[in-house]
């Protein structure tokens, strides 16, 4: 029998999964709302929230990405405006990442500052407009350090040549950026949607300030256990990137201590969010 919606909303914590009831809310560290070029965007956003309800996910850290590459100035400003409206529509459920193209150096910095200081966004989302080690990205990283907010960065490492996304960043790039900016809070996106995850874990092993999100559609058995062994549970963030049952399932299925599961499901992201709020 389907569980009534209200019952789900009442259990939006780790208790909704077979986890310690004392732990905090489950936070999806990497999600997206839909671009309004999609005629069904409103209904699709609602479906995302419904799926989160059913799976016991309390908060979703979202961005909206325009479809065109390279990302235009108007494109990212428009998306961030829509996201601000969505945050108002779903208060405390949707947290916002400001999406920008770092190539617009001044405008991107202005947009991030405005979104964080005026609109309450919690971080920055970057895609593949530039590799994260390109100098054009550095002013943005420095602003995020100043604002005490994380950067969630699209990532992937495949063995294919030619690379379909020539400026995609990988774990090695994040390790390099972290060496230059050890005080930055960097999140390498979707270990389960970014190609060879074993390579990525090894590349990030000695970059202790880089977090890794567990999202993606790949459901390879053992990935979470290997990530905990290689990086430690303190560096892993539960996330779905819209692959909801895959992402919840892999955390449920992982053979790890319950204390580690609680950190991954929300504890670590809550700490990151607390850096700015001072909690």
């Amino acid at each position: 029998m389907p569980i009534p919606r209200r019952a789900f909303l009442g259990s939006l914590s780790l208790a909704a999964l077979p986890l310690p009831a004392a732990a905090g809310p489950v936070i999806d560290a990497h999600s997206h709302l839909h671009h309004r070029g999609r005629p069904t965007w409103r209904e699709d956003d609602r479906k995302l929230i419904d799926a989160a309800d059913k799976l016991g996910i309390a908060q979703l850290c979202c961005s909206i990405l325009p479809p065109e590459r390279p990302t235009s100035l108007d494109g990212f400003r428009e998306c961030n405006q829509w996201l601000a409206e969505a945050i108002a529509r779903f208060p405390k459920r949707i947290l916002g990442y400001c999406f920008v193209n770092p190539g617009f150096v001044k405008e991107a910095r202005d947009e991030v500052r405005r979104c964080v200081e005026d609109r309450g966004f919690i971080g920055v989302k970057l895609y593949n407009d530039y590799r994260c080690t390109e100098p054009v990205v550095f002013p943005l990283v420095e602003l995020c350090i100043e604002l005490k907010i994380p950067i969630l960065h699209h990532a992937g490492h495949t063995m294919w040549l030619p690379q379909p996304q020539p400026r995609i960043s990988d774990g090695g790039d994040f390790a390099e950026l972290a060496k230059r900016y050890p005080e930055a809070t960097l999140i390498c996106a979707h270990i389960c949607g970014g190609g060879d995850w074993e390579w990525t874990l090894k590349a990030l092993r000695n970059a202790p300030t880089v977090y890794l999100d567990t999202s993606g559609s790949v459901i390879d058995e053992g990935v979470v256990e290997r990530a905990v062994r290689t990086l430690g549970a303190d560096r892993l963030l539960f996330a779905c990137d819209m692959s909801m049952t895959a992402s919840v399932g892999r955390i449920r299925g992982a053979e790890i201590p319950e204390s580690d599961r609680a950190k991954i499901l929300g504890g670590n992201m809550a700490k990151i969010l607390g850096k700015r709020s001072g909690r």
Binding site: T158, D220, E221, T245
Partner: protein, 273 residues
């Protein structure tokens, strides 16, 4: 619950856990999965796929009540007729598993058509995993695309008397295989491990288009965590009677298995949660 998509043995490109009979059974117990259709993971990359069938035969014989054998054969490789006979008559395997991309043939090749016909005459179901692993993470040694839906459609059309199980696939709802009144014989069912239930809800669409008798539970373990498939069934918006068909009834019909009474074949130990 019957899992139609499970494996024993090693895979050439990634270390697997729970890939012995005891390990897989322990995992099945924890997840309350009663029986599984099991094939050799090693056969995917062995030159002679049948060597993998031989490797798992003794384990299958020891656990016949829980592990159902599935033969991996390559119709482009010498001796497959002998190997089919061995798998069916000596090893008691109930199904055939085909890897046309990994083994370099087409489902519509004459030899493959003959293999499907011979296996069907023996009462075996024909299983086709559309992929083994996500293409983005494949080794530099291989570049293996998914099996195309159109190729599968041609195969099911060419063998209307066969019973096909399609697994490790997605995107059916947008292809001929997932369309209502698609002109294909209703001789195939689709396994759920890579289907969405949330957002696009491909599983819901397939239930609507193909009907409740043509969706089957499967996980892909131990390549995959079994839990995503379990989570899909949990949140699927469908009556319990439909979920029960997906969990076991449809697979039992297609594999021609007797469903045990609930108390007769319990997992060996209680799961922890």
């Amino acid at each position: 619950m019957i899992d139609v998509n499970a494996y024993l043995g090693h895979f050439a490109f990634r270390a697997l856990r729970h890939n012995t009979a005891d390990g897989l059974l322990r995992l099945m117990d924890r997840k309350r999965i009663e029986r599984a259709l099991v094939s050799s993971a090693s056969s995917i990359t062995y030159r002679s796929a049948h060597a993998g069938n031989e490797e798992i035969a003794a384990d299958l014989a020891r656990h016949r009540d829980r592990l159902i054998g599935c033969a991996v054969l390559n119709p482009a490789y010498a001796g497959w007729r002998d190997d089919l006979r061995t798998c069916h008559e000596e090893f008691g395997m109930k199904a055939l598993r085909l890897y046309p991309r990994w083994h370099n043939y087409k489902l519509t090749d004459e030899s493959c058509q003959e293999l499907i016909q011979q296996a069907t005459r023996r009462g075996m179901a024909i299983t086709i995993p559309l992929r083994v692993e996500d293409r983005r993470q494949q080794s530099w040694l291989v570049d293996i695309p998914d099996v195309a839906h159109a190729e599968i459609a041609a195969a099911v059309q060419a063998a209307p008397e066969a019973r096909f199980l399609l697994m490790n696939g997605s995107g059916f709802a947008g292809s001929v295989l997932g369309r209502k009144n698609n002109g294909l014989p209703p001789n195939y069912a689709i396994e759920i491990s890579l289907l969405t239930v949330e957002l696009a809800n491909e599983l819901g669409q397939l239930l609507q288009n193909l009907g409740e008798d043509r969706i089957v539970f499967g996980t892909g373990m131990p390549f995959h965590y079994p839990d995503p498939s379990l989570a899909k069934l949990e949140i699927l918006d469908a009556p319990e009677s439909v979920k029960q068909k997906i969990r076991a009834g449809n697979a039992a019909r297609i594999l021609r298995l007797q469903l045990s009474r609930p108390s007769a074949r319990r997992p060996r130990q209680s799961p922890p949660c």
